[in-house]
């Protein structure tokens, strides 16, 4: 019987279940909350099953409908995909339990179907084996994300969503043109086949440029990050958390995949450029975050800065020594947990005080201790203090920079950490002080406080899980991570 369970195509379930759940939400709006929670929980279980199968049998490949590549669509999962799927499922579960209490019945009817569609799209994206299927999943992700951004229908949300939609469409069209050129050059869209056939020539270089630019726009890499703060700050808190934690990781994952399998071998110059933009993103995003007077914009600019760290992986030649996939997945996972906790905590503070002005937090620490604790713990990870996952990820990155003599990048990372401490303590400082004008406060449901806190605790605990995560992706390199994990105790 156990063997039967092992052979179930868990990957298909992770896509079909939320899709079916989303349709059920549209058909029976009254059922949308339970249908949504059941689907998300089911996805968590299916991904556990998929993980078990990958542990037992190695990489997962499934030809949908019995049609294999090159004609049909293959689903594919290795350690990297699995970590991204686990990230999506766990963060999605936390946010779902938050959203259960956050939305009014009227908004919930609109939130659940779109969120389930987004979940299906993200799972499909992380399971895609070909670059065209990645495009379709990327568009689905983008459209669902835009619709969620506009959920409240307020004018700033509509403006933010519109700007986001145009940016995301431009990004995916550039990516699609790259797909066309690669297909023309190599006669396949399957990543594994492409990897064997690809040779640097004019068409491949053009494709590389278009795809990198398009995906950088969708990941909001500085200076293409103009659309992110208005969209992420104007959306409702659970949506901001989904956008910052998961949606930008989707396009980042595609770029990483392309680099690992196709472009990494010959595009060193572009790697350097991506790294420089990443460094610029860290400095610019952190400085902007420091300037903000509203929590949600502060957290959104912090995302711009943290995306920069992800792009430092490219110039550090980690792609060539096999560390890139593990490092990127770990940093992305760490950021997803911490940033979702921060946005949910910001949502609690907003619900509590009716505003998100940092200067008027008015002793939130006494009145919402769990929420402020969640913000602080997530902040520990964003700043990169031990023993959090942010520390382990950034320490490994710093270690790689210094061992390669890239002092410039090392200095940027350290300055970025200090600036992050600046903007996080700015919020925490006001949480301890009394505002000049007292404000009316509304109660925040305990579940919403706990959802934020549990995600933040997850960001810390992930710091202890580094060897396991690294072993999942690249068994040979797990030693490095366990060294990093023990450094702070020494």
């Amino acid at each position: 019987m156990l063997i039967g369970l092992l052979n179930i195509d868990w990957g298909v379930i992770t896509i079909m279940l939320p899709l079916a759940g989303g349709i059920a939400c549209v058909l029976w709006p009254a059922m949308s909350k339970p249908a949504g929670l059941i689907s998300v929980t089911g996805v968590v279980l299916a991904i556990a099953g998929l993980g078990w199968r990958i542990m037992e049998n190695g990489t997962y490949r499934h030809a949908v409908g019995g049609w294999g590549a090159p004609l049909g669509i293959d689903l594919f999962a290795d350690g990297l995909s699995l970590v991204m799927l686990i990230m999506t499922a766990l963060v999605g579960l936390g946010i779902s339990f938050y959203a259960k209490r956050f939305f009014s019945p009227c908004d919930a009817v609109r939130f659940w179907p779109i969120w389930l569609l987004l979940l299906a799209a993200l799972n499909a994206l992380f399971l895609s084996a070909d670059i065209f299927n990645l495009y379709v999943a990327l568009e689905m992700t983008g459209l669902a994300a835009v619709a969620l951004t506009a959920l409240t229908g307020r004018i700033d949300a509509l403006g933010g969503a519109m700007r986001y939609l145009l940016a995301t469409l431009l990004g995916s069209l550039a990516y699609l043109l790259g797909v066309v050129l690669l297909y023309h050059d190599a006669g396949s869209v399957d990543i594994a086949t492409l990897a064997q056939r690809i040779e640097p020539n004019a068409a491949v270089w053009t494709a590389l440029g278009l795809m990198s630019a398009g995906l950088a726009l969708k990941t909001a890499l500085f200076p293409l990050s103009f659309w992110l703060p208005p969209a992420h700050a104007s959306a409702p808190a659970p949506v901001s958390a989904l956008l910052s934690a998961l949606v930008i990781k989707a396009s980042f994952y595609i770029l990483l995949r392309l680099w690992l399998e196709l472009f990494g071998a010959f595009a060193e110059g572009v790697s350097m450029l991506l790294g420089l933009l990443g460094a610029a993103a860290i400095l610019w995003g952190s400085l902007q975050a420091l300037r903000q007077t509203r929590i949600k914009l502060l957290v959104a600019y912090s995302t711009v800065a943290q995306i920069g760290y992800l792009f430092l992986i490219y110039p550090l030649a980690l792609v060539s020594n096999g560390m890139a996939a593990s490092m990127a997945a770990y940093l992305a996972f760490s950021h997803a947990l911490a940033k979702s906790a921060m946005f949910l905590a910001a949502g609690n503070l907003m619900q509590f005080g009716g505003h998100d002005r940092i200067a008027d937090l008015d002793r939130a620490v006494q009145r919402l201790p769990l929420t402020v604790a969640a913000f602080a713990l997530a902040g520990v990870s964003i700043m990169g203090l031990p023993p959090s996952s942010g520390f382990v990820g950034k320490w490994l990155l710093l270690d790689a920079a210094m061992s390669q003599g890239r002092w410039d990048l090392a200095v940027v990372m350290i300055i970025g950490g200090l600036l992050a401490a600046g903007y996080i303590f700015k919020v925490l400082g006001y949480a301890f002080t009394q505002a000049e004008v007292p404000h009316d406060a509304r109660a925040v449901p305990a579940e919403m406080e706990w959802a934020a806190l549990l995600l933040a605790i997850g960001a810390i605990l992930l710091g202890f899980m580094a060897p396991q995560i690294f072993a999942l992706i690249h068994p040979d390199l797990a030693v490095n991570a366990s060294e990093a994990g023990t450094v702070w105790t020494a």
Partner: protein
């Protein structure tokens, strides 16, 4: 210089033209149309390059991709238009807010 390449370059031309319009025009409807022109450019490149030099029949896979692409483009356009109408209804004009409120 075959016919196929002529079409492909026309497609790239449409893409660039659309990109230009997307950047310079303020009205959201013009931006949405610009994105559609860019999409048509990509599809034209896709169809044009389907026939490889020296082969009598063209490759069906890019055609299937264009169909998928058109479906995606239609849904994206529908969402964009709906958002534009909402935005115009709330703010009285269909332009993007210049600077978000800091």
């Amino acid at each position: 210089m075959t016919n196929a390449f002529l079409y492909a370059f026309a497609g790239i031309g449409l893409f660039v033209l659309g990109l230009h319009a997307l950047v310079v025009h303020a009205h959201v409807l013009r931006k949405i149309l610009a994105v559609n022109v860019m999409g048509s450019g990509v599809f034209l490149v896709l169809v044009a390059l389907a026939r490889r030099s020296g082969e009598a029949t063209s490759d069906p896979v890019p055609h299937a991709m264009v169909i998928t692409g058109i479906v995606v483009a239609v849904s994206a356009t529908a969402l964009a238009l709906a958002l534009m109408l909402k935005l115009a209804g709330k703010s009285g004009e269909a332009v993007l807010p210049g600077k978000h409120n800091d």
